[in-house]
Symmetry: C2
Subunit: 361 residues, 2 copies
């Protein structure tokens, strides 16, 4: 297989193959770190068994986008694969700690890590609060993933000169990710944020972290020219925003089998997402009063979720969000349509734009 | 001032001067990161104001040991100062998250970061639990400190070749630190651990992280020969263990003005430290029953602390721990007495061994 073929990340069977290879690299590194650093520690065994599952259970969007960024400048290598696969460990750090902060019970189709650790504490009959242990220990495993991610990148085998171009972006991405989580802590429907501020959070959180920064990171590792990175950035910002808008739709209407979360999770958590805010802005006075009453319930139960979903539908907000998603994807494809990127990358970006933003149920 | 004078880290006025310079470097980096990454975010402002205080409030033991390690091989430079000062940010990451996990109210003479953040949440009248917000936000600021520490080291100005020698040690130190925290979560007097296992935790936690690894890290950055690093490692393991034993004495008998924590904090938290375990092992059957009863109280109050302290004294455990501390320091000084290290470093290590392990109240 030629180097070019190795990096045919367009739609087709090779996407699957590349995704599996990225997954293998990420899981290998986690397994090796667990073996090196956690062996012989009973309180770590249950997490060491669970961590590879969390790392491998994702869609590997971030590492795939980074690989496409890389492929705009250079041919394939195992070193490059390892470097971009490290983003999956970084993402896993964020998920593990996010689940602690949100008290989320499940992640990627399995119990969240803090839940698994609490259960272990209970089974062992240890003293003290099992919940507290689960939260603290999961936070520490999140810290380890953050360290392992950076170590995997540094030890990927890429030259220091390649890495040196990407470190500033990597640091900025990590900070942006953590600061995005911080903003999420004060995100609450009841505070009635504006559409602009919600869109700003969406851009910062997903627009940047899921699509734009990984693309830029891969392109920086490969030493791409600004003529290549500028359209990638523009595409990344647009597709990232559309991805977050899709996620916001699923957060209200998605099925648990698709989202891995309870139905109407964003409503239950009173997260002020794009869909919730557009609905509020389009609502008549009576609808708006009804939404506000639901948001202020002590407990948003299944009936409240259903009533809130109906109200949102009545405003026409879902159709409006679909229009925006379509427009963002169209603009993104236009941005790379005439850009100075290789044909195989353009094909991959076209396919990925749809994969990221299409209805998923 | 000549380069050699700059690195006279022995006792005397220059120690103070060097400590201040390390402090300035650490605080500068934190301030710059806050300005770059947290500006304009109201939920971050209170932490951005508080973080420099936590970083500057310590004794800078770790960066000082690392500087001594460096000075065994090379002369002074601002790049080296920045590289070793980065350890203070790493330490601060551990403290901030540790306080969340232990629910500690104070740190370095001020409210713990999670307490400050909870208070801010309450003042702003935000919805949701202020405690939960404080814990989550402090965890995220801990994550930022972990990232900033590594960034500070990488951008210190040292050559890639110098850094390359130290990265494996740095990664191992970070993992050891996090895994040490994890072990602490299951540390409970009520589980009645053995003296050997408690000493193992003491070595891993402080023996390595506070003294040994920083020394080795500084020496690795400077490219020291094994003939230099071997005695530094031996010294570090011994002084580190003595440091932790001193800390264990203070955890039972220390005054809040010295420790910055409530009196008898380790007893209240039922932490199985060296002192507690030696006392238990030396106790007669009646004393042991009394200790066990205190450990199993629902709430270890001030009277229980006083009774437990008396029981510990009656066993002669404090004198036994003092003997061990003295023996460890003697062995450590012997290890560097005839070692191949510069005279100024030997002087500094002698002074630091006493400063780390002397009675502090």
């Amino acid at each position: 297989m030629s180097l070019d073929q190795q990096y045919d990340v367009s739609c087709g069977p090779l996407v699957g193959d590349l995704t599996e290879r990225l997954r293998d690299h990420a899981v290998d590194h986690v397994r090796r770190c667990c073996a090196d650093q956690l062996a012989g520690r009973p309180e770590a065994r249950v997490a060491a068994e669970a961590l590879p599952g969390y790392v491998s259970g994702g869609k590997l969007l971030r590492s795939t986008f980074a690989l496409v960024g890389w492929s705009c400048g250079r041919g394939g290598s195992d070193a490059a694969m390892r470097a971009v696969a490290s983003l999956e460990l970084l993402h896993c750090f964020a998920l593990v700690q996010d689940d602690v902060m949100d008290g989320s019970p499940r992640r990627r189709g399995r119990p969240a890590l803090h839940v698994t650790l609490s259960a272990w504490h209970r089974e062992q009959g240890l003293s003290g609060s099992a919940e507290r242990f689960g939260a603290s220990a999961a936070t520490l495993f999140g810290d380890l993933l953050l360290v392992w991610a950076e170590q995997m990148l540094r030890e990927s085998g890429l030259d220091d000169a390649d890495l040196a171009r990407a470190w500033p972006l990597y640091d900025a991405m990590r900070a942006e990710l953590v600061v995005g989580q911080l903003s999420d802590l004060v995100n609450d429907t009841r505070a009635e944020p504006t559409w602009e501020s919600v869109l700003d959070v969406a851009r910062r959180k997903s627009g940047n972290y899921t699509v734009r920064r990984p693309l830029e990171f891969g392109a920086a590792l490969a030493g791409c020219d600004p003529s290549v990175t500028a359209p990638l950035s523009r595409y990344g910002a647009l597709v990232g925003e559309a991805f977050q808008l899709r996620d916001d739709v699923l957060g209200v209407f998605g099925h648990p089998s698709t989202t891995g979360k309870p139905a109407g999770d964003d409503l239950r958590n009173r997260t002020a997402t794009s869909l919730v805010v557009v609905a509020r802005d389009r609502a008549g006075p009576a609808q708006r009063r009804a939404m506000r009453a639901l948001a202020h319930l002590d407990h948003v139960d299944a009936d409240a979720v259903a009533a809130w979903q109906d109200l949102i539908c009545d405003t026409g907000a879902p159709e409006r969000i679909e229009e925006i998603i379509t427009a963002r994807v169209d603009d993104a494809l236009a941005a790379i349509g005439c850009a100075d990127v290789p044909e195989h990358a353009r094909d991959a970006l076209t396919s990925l734009a749809h994969r990221c933003t299409d209805r998923r149920d």
